[in-house]
Symmetry: C2
Subunit: 404 residues, 2 copies
């Protein structure tokens, strides 16, 4: 007998039929003799519906009140999934984030889980109940409801799995697992059977929106075995686990991120500490800088180029213009029409030919590389956005071979 945490996303519980489908998956696991905890997101369009209702009244409602509003979405889901499980004749109890002991900080709208006290969940499992928990929500020290931000239900699920020392955390979604590239764009993309936490983290950060990044971090920290799988296919998905046990692949995926903009500061006087100051300035405004490239310019000046998320471009440029006002000859330029293409794989560090192969594939397709950034398990390049899909395709085929 195992303890299984199963998480169903919004698309997996979007209507009555899908909820019954989820209930069937849950009760099958229970029937197989497992203890089952289920974590559920709000139904498909519920969150948007609720935001729509709010915006008609006040599009700038406080984050605290928006959390009260949005957390009603998961409350509805857990009740509906529970009555579906009741219909199948199984013992079930639904509990909200605060009942499940999900304690968070007070960053409303994007709260972080601080700890989970799963006493209530354990008590219900002892009674042989299937326990359906509202994802995405928690309680702060003021006893107020918080929400965990985008993908928060994944975080809830993995966090609860960690707190219960569960044998596996299954993340049910509308895709079959983690793919080597976006299968809608790359015909030869295939499902990865196993991937390490670190590779998954890089892929998640790169916009492969299968698993929320925080949830992978928690899984890694607490060594939670995670499976990403489809709630429709009934097939095994992708197992995310410790690197040492993972089936070795040189690279595990190619990912694209369009939500990125390049900013260059050109002609900076080469004075010590200038770059430190500018980046700490950006950090203080919560602007996340990604790839950074510094080059020596002419006449004792230097250039710095870096990337930020599209939505932070305007703010960043304003800030830089302000900051560089007093400096003669310093020029700010930017381009939001760029994409970051990355390959992720545990073998990258020990196989220098991987980078060469990637660059060669891009060269062959006449795609110009604007910037390069590497880590132990990742190589990212910045290219023109128009060529991004093509780039993913040629890189994927260079490593995995074209579709047959």
């Amino acid at each position: 007998m195992s303890l299984i945490v199963q998480k169903f996303g919004g698309t997996s519980v979007a209507n009555a039929e899908l909820i019954m489908n989820a209930a069937n998956i849950v009760t099958k696991a229970y029937n197989d003799g497992n203890d089952v905890v289920v974590v559920v997101s709000a139904q498909g369009d519920m969150t948007d519906q609720l935001i729509g209702r709010a915006n008609k009244i006040n599009s700038r409602g406080s984050k605290r009140e928006m959390d009260v509003l949005l957390s009603a979405g998961e409350q509805i889901s857990i009740a509906l999934l529970s009555i579906a499980i009741e219909k199948l004749g199984y013992p079930v109890v639904s509990i909200l984030g605060w009942q499940a002991g999900v304690m968070t900080n007070s960053n409303y709208g994007n709260a972080m889980i601080k700890k989970i006290e799963p006493d209530r969940i354990k008590k219900e499992l002892d009674k042989k109940n299937i326990v359906v928990v509202a994802g995405f929500q928690g309680l702060n020290k003021y006893y107020d409801v918080t929400t965990l931000g985008r993908g928060g239900s994944d975080t809830s699920a993995v966090g609860i799995a960690a707190s219960l020392n569960a044998d596996i955390c299954q993340i049910f979604t509308d895709v079959k697992g983690v793919f080597t590239a976006d299968p809608r764009k790359v015909p030869s993309a295939f499902k990865i059977n196993e991937i390490s936490y670190d590779e998954m983290l890089e892929l998640a950060a790169l916009g492969a929106q299968v698993l929320n990044n925080r949830s992978v971090e928690i899984a890694k920290r607490h060594n939670v075995l995670v499976e990403v799988l489809s709630s429709f296919s009934g097939e095994p998905g992708t197992i995310v686990k410790e690197a040492t046990n993972v089936e070795k692949m040189l690279i595990s995926g190619v990912a694209k991120d369009d939500n990125i903009a390049r900013i260059s500061i050109i002609g900076i006087p080469d004075v010590m500490g200038w770059d430190f100051k500018i980046f700490s300035k950006l950090a203080s405004k919560n602007i996340n800088v990604d790839i950074i490239l510094q080059s020596i310019g002419r006449d004792g000046t230097k250039d710095i180029t870096f990337t930020v998320k599209d939505e932070q471009l305007e703010e960043t440029v304003d800030l830089l213009n302000n900051y560089c006002q007093s400096l003669e000859n310093v020029k700010i330029s930017y381009d939001s029409h760029v994409s970051k293409i990355s390959i992720v794989g545990a073998g990258i560090e020990s196989h220098p030919e991987i980078a060469a192969k990637m660059f060669e594939a891009l060269f062959s397709a006449q795609i110009n590389i604007q910037m390069i950034s590497t880590s132990e398990i990742k190589i990212s390049v910045l290219i023109d956005q128009d060529k991004a899909d093509k780039a993913v395709l040629v890189i994927h085929d260079a490593f995995f071979g074209p579709a047959v």
Copy 2:
């Protein structure tokens, strides 16, 4: 400075515009220097929507899970009203039933408030916040969410007002107050300015659905001054308070209840204790018996006639048939096509001419009285349902004069 509890029903917060209207009423009271606690119901059709979603999955979901589901309705309302109040620039905080300390028993779907511990509400009032509380919901001893059943938000509001020792509890609704009769049926009906708890209790029990009965009971027990008023007119409504301070009216209203059925057991052998047994049998099945009439029949037998709610007719008749199976010559008959017409008024006990006037009005209109029941402040008659509206009209006009 006063402490005011304001309650807005579902029709008063049904859409964005109405929510802004409620926010204006609330902030006006706050602006006048009062501490303001607001209790809100689910938006107009929200409860039905949620039940619809549930029924598509399982029309027999457990009451516990239905309570989790339905309590999401008020959660949405409090958040929306709060962001409306934020838009008007006032400090506000929304809290759920469990945060407001509304402790109930575990009768899911129809829970009773056991006590209210308003520490959190007081803390927020001390911070000069407008406090918006989810009505209709509470917490039981298992730390599970419960709902209070039909009209439960009234109960929440009066209960919270009692726990805070509030100066007044204003119940905002879509009617202007308590009327002497249903104004849609009786043109001469008029709004009552003041009414006693007892009279209000009788009227509420008789189907004048302005105020939930339990809420009036709580108001009476804790001496909470209640005002029923329109959220649209801006005019004073009806004050419900202790009898000693109420402006004296001989009768305060005429009410009709169509949801009633008459059952007769004819030819019962006149043996001691038989009627006791039959009524305790009904009580054990939670069947509420209203008017009871016992008469001596022929040959040492007797007849018992009583009324029950329409929806309990079938169950009652089945029960009686079973129970009387062994008794020869006992006959059960019933009629659901009856109405109960009642007049309520503090003056009834001391003014016997009131009953005479009521019966005369019915006689003049050629309406036959099937049963009569009286209490200190109420006279009820059972008549044919087809003549019910006419009966209310002629009785009302007999006491208050016809419309001019």
